[in-house]
Symmetry: C2
Subunit: 604 residues, 2 copies
């Protein structure tokens, strides 16, 4: 079903001036991207009969395309001494023999033969130069993969983490040959691969909605399959505090959604370990001083405006006590606040080995602090809310640094117009800022201030947008006009399609030097309206779109043009494989399109 409106709107949107201008603006940056992502001149992108997602930086497959049978006793031969790599090797061996992936379109390849009989691939060899390089920001994830028609295959990598990327690539080059009931893998293939950005993340909010450990593990597993390497765990928020902390057990006891909806120390160990064996780092976030209503269950004395209605006067937005229902902010004037925060930082940094600690600091709401008598007195004595925030951050930041962590904050701590801190409180050496407002503009403000930036623009990378809003008793939806929009009540609508995610250039508008401070990006899954029942479809394959853009870029090395046309069939295939691996990703096109290349395009 469709209508004139459909393409008419599409064309109207297309014909807007910006398309011309921004292409002009893009070319330079994208060629840069392409040059970085491709060490050698490549031909214009054309999908192979079997493809890898994210697309490798460089891949060749000798023509005519060949495939070699994989032995039923296939195994991985590699160095011992790194238990994570060993478990990865075992995992991929099992996956390879169990997956039985059947491509949507049968690949046109010849099965290799030698002296009349078809050779088999008995094993894959791993060669790793620095087996003990720790998994940390900036670690070398590069690898080379060679699969010979004679039945020999090698992954060569600088680190165990790069070797894992190579194993994933190898697994995606294998498929089940229906008629022959054989497992085949592409042969005559050479891949040289490395990421464009060292930080390729997914943020999951377990504060608004509790997610069982199994769902978190499945998500991390899918991240690794997409060569994403940072699981940003937004653990707590105003709605719940699900993390059991040894020194502050009351926080989860009183602040979680209840028994069976808390993460134990064992759960965290399991999740961190599971992620490590997939080359995925886990960056914990304990949001504060805002978004902390849930702390009031255990310590009401340290939380301002807790339990109050969030929007006393809907017609006076500035008077709100919180950005959304669930009011409560830590009180920087209360000594106990620092005792609790200090214990939290020590416990969390003990539980999570990663070098980054996300401290939140987003959406500090004036109305909440203004409603607190002790703070009213402080303000009456001439203090300001920014000084109050500075007092808090100034005390907490050194505690984070003392634990050998780099602190990550949401951009608000510096860029919020009402309440913010002076840069001296958050030295660039020990601080990374995560941007979410105003797209490329705020990224530029952050790097120009000398900070490293993680890009999570709500306009491109927020996976929750476009499904309306959850706030009740809202008459905005009650309108009989068929053309009435108002974004469907979704503050950051429309829904960010995979194409919008894929096409975004996170260094847009930056100079080459400024771009160096952008360490990567994260798609953000806020969960006011998402739980385990629909998680996969909301995250995948849109997160895959960012994964490729940040791994090998979103444009064609040879032409310097965006890859979106060429990426569609590859993403359809990859989504099909993910579903087979147990991830309920949403489809992007009817099956009809996949077997008719170009026929579902707007421009042929």
């Amino acid at each position: 079903m469709s209508t004139n409106q459909r393409v008419q709107r599409r064309l109207a949107a297309q014909s807007t001036a910006p398309m011309a201008t921004n292409n002009g603006g893009f070319v330079v940056l994208l060629l840069l991207l392409c040059l970085v992502s491709s060490p050698r001149p490549a031909r214009a992108d054309v999908p192979f009969p079997v493809n890898v997602w994210p697309k490798p930086t460089y891949m060749s497959w000798a023509e005519p395309h060949m495939a070699v049978r994989v032995s039923s006793s296939f195994h991985v031969v590699g160095p011992s001494g790194n238990s994570y790599l060993l478990s990865a090797a075992q995992r991929y061996t099992a996956l390879l023999l169990a997956e039985r992936y059947r491509p949507l379109v049968t690949p046109a390849v010849n099965i290799t033969t030698a002296g009349g009989r078809a050779p088999e691939l008995p094993y894959l060899t791993l060669a790793v130069s620095d087996l003990h390089a720790p998994l940390q920001h900036g670690v070398d994830e590069s690898y080379a993969l060679e699969i010979l028609p004679t039945g020999a295959a090698t992954v060569t990598a600088a680190t165990a983490w790069g070797a894992m990327r190579g194993l994933e690539t190898f697994s995606q080059l294998a498929w089940w040959w229906g008629r022959e009931r054989t497992l085949l893998v592409a042969a005559g293939v050479r891949v040289e691969d490395r990421p464009l950005y060292p930080h390729r993340g997914l943020m999951l909010d377990t504060g608004r909605t509790y997610f069982p450990v199994a769902d978190i593990l499945r998500t991390i597993d899918a991240m690794a399959a997409n060569k994403m390497n940072v699981f940003h765990w937004h653990i707590t928020d105003s709605q719940s505090f699900p993390l059991e902390l040894p020194s502050q057990p009351a926080l989860a006891e009183k602040g979680s959604y209840g028994e069976g909806m808390r993460y134990t120390v064992e759960d965290v160990k399991l999740i961190v370990d599971f992620a490590m064996s997939r080359g995925v780092r886990v960056v914990p976030e304990i949001d504060s001083p805002g978004h902390t209503a849930s702390w009031a269950g255990a310590y009401p004395e340290i939380v301002s405006c807790a339990g109050k209605f969030w929007l006393p006067d809907a017609l006076d937005w500035p008077s709100r006590l919180a950005a959304e229902p669930g009011a409560g902010q830590l009180n920087p004037l209360e000594p106990k606040t620092y005792q609790v925060v200090s214990n939290v930082i020590n416990d969390v940094t003990s539980l999570f080995p990663d070098g980054l600690y996300h401290a939140g600091a987003d959406e500090v709401t004036p109305g909440c602090w203004n409603a607190d008598p002790s703070i009213q007195a402080y303000l009456a004595r001439g203090g300001t809310l920014s000084q109050l925030l500075e007092k808090f951050i100034g005390a907490a930041h050194p505690l984070i640094v003392a634990r050998n962590r780099t602190a990550v904050y949401w951009e608000d701590v510096l860029l919020d117009q009402a309440v913010n801190v002076t840069p001296s409180v958050i030295p660039p050496e020990t601080t990374i800022l995560q941007t979410w407002n105003n797209g490329a503009n705020n990224t530029k403000l952050i790097v120009q201030a000398g900070y490293r930036a993680i890009v999570s623009s709500a306009s491109f990378y927020y996976l929750d947008c476009g499904h309306g809003d959850f706030v009740g008793n809202n008459s905005v939806y009650d309108d009989p006009r068929s053309d009435y929009d108002s974004n469907g009540g979704s503050w950051c609508g429309p829904y960010k399609t995979w194409q919008r995610v894929y096409d975004y250039d996170i260094t847009h508008g930056l100079t080459a030097d400024e771009a160096k401070l952008v360490i990567g990006g994260e798609v953000a899954m806020w969960t006011e309206q998402v739980d385990a029942a629909v998680l996969d479809g909301r995250v995948w394959p849109r997160a895959s779109a960012m994964a490729e853009a940040l791994w090998s870029g979103n444009c064609d090395a040879a032409t310097g043009r965006k890859r979106y046309a060429e990426a569609t069939d590859r993403l359809t295939d990859w989504r099909h494989r993910m579903v087979g691996r147990g991830v309920r990703a949403e489809p992007i096109q009817p099956l009809w399109c996949r077997s008719r290349p170009g026929m579902c395009n707007l421009v042929r």
Copy 2:
């Protein structure tokens, strides 16, 4: 996460003039709705400790609220002689004992006691006056349910289908009492219930995407739980023809997505029978003459422009060959066309017993017929495209009527500006029109022309809107501006939230007489970007929102105001129960809100 934009936009949207005017415009209609839906003055709506979705027309629960234990040997006592009702009784007995539904908030009720000991409810009695009334449009679905504190319960209904509605209501009044490990059911309850509209449907498109039978059955089961009664099965489309027809086996052989992606005669029998035992009618749709590219596999000679690229010139929309990729339209000048169509109508009406046959007739595209040499000659001789459509409909309509069916068409057949038929070809006595464009305006045009209308406005009831579009190689998404919208490339975006679905009044702007011709509505699940992996979350609980609006209305009987504020908690509970029943519906609010009534509202 959120931002000033969030509520600012919301308030901006609210403060637009139309809110005032349309409230004014609403009151009359909604009071009417309320009067219809409520036979006696009811107090202003307040949720009960345990609720039923859709909300019954009338329900009383004596205070203090009591509950009675359900015996572990609970069973349903009723008349024999209707196998569908028997299987329903067995199904609900099993569900009741197996479901173990735990409410999100423990209901504040007292367990009944008599002489010191708690009585048990041993069985439920069914009383049906007309046991053999066939399931058809307009059948009496009313029922009364009485549950006494002493442990007696009765469902009284005019028909077996009404009795099934009563059984569903009974099942929703039961819950699992954790501490006591007991099954309880509300006691001291009286329900008198009947639907506002006789046609409450869901349309599923299995032409763009094939859905396994199990997913169709689960969907129909969920429909029945929501007291929806029409499964409109959009079986075929240009992308595939998955239905195996005895007299035209080639259509599915050549036109389906392949083996294992076809519906056999046995599949159809199973689906129709499964639906009957739930009081759900199955209305088949074989879309024609447009949307028939898939017929060309078997009969290329009867399909115009098949295999051609759909949009030869993206800048010249009028020259398109189809509304979306997949061009092909039956050729009314080809005699063989009528032979095939006649066989299809005979086979499909043999397979599907329902009194309605949906013949499609939407989006006939001039460019496709204009590209056909035989039609070019016809036009050269002075013929018109509308005459061509009339020739086709004029031949097919009598074939449908000859099979004792009322024909349903999409509104285009009458309202399309380029290609349409004169009303004489589709007599109102044997024709129902389904509207999808221009909201309330087209509903009015249809009923003013004397036709019965089924409302599926794309602006309110299209469940596919707001997830972007599937057409590839579209640069519209490639824009770095953070505030750039263009509806996210979704022709009918934004996403239709449950609130938008719930608040829509399908008789908006009609006179009382005109409103009588509106037989009901259908949410429409088009599947270019939906398959089994994400079906449930895209359909539920939004379809539930329409289900209540069409069953008992969307406004408060006492106040005449929309129920949306009061419905939120009830829908959260109902969604929770659906998930427990195996339907992966999406959540509408964080759990935090449910246990804090009013705290997540915009206006307290």
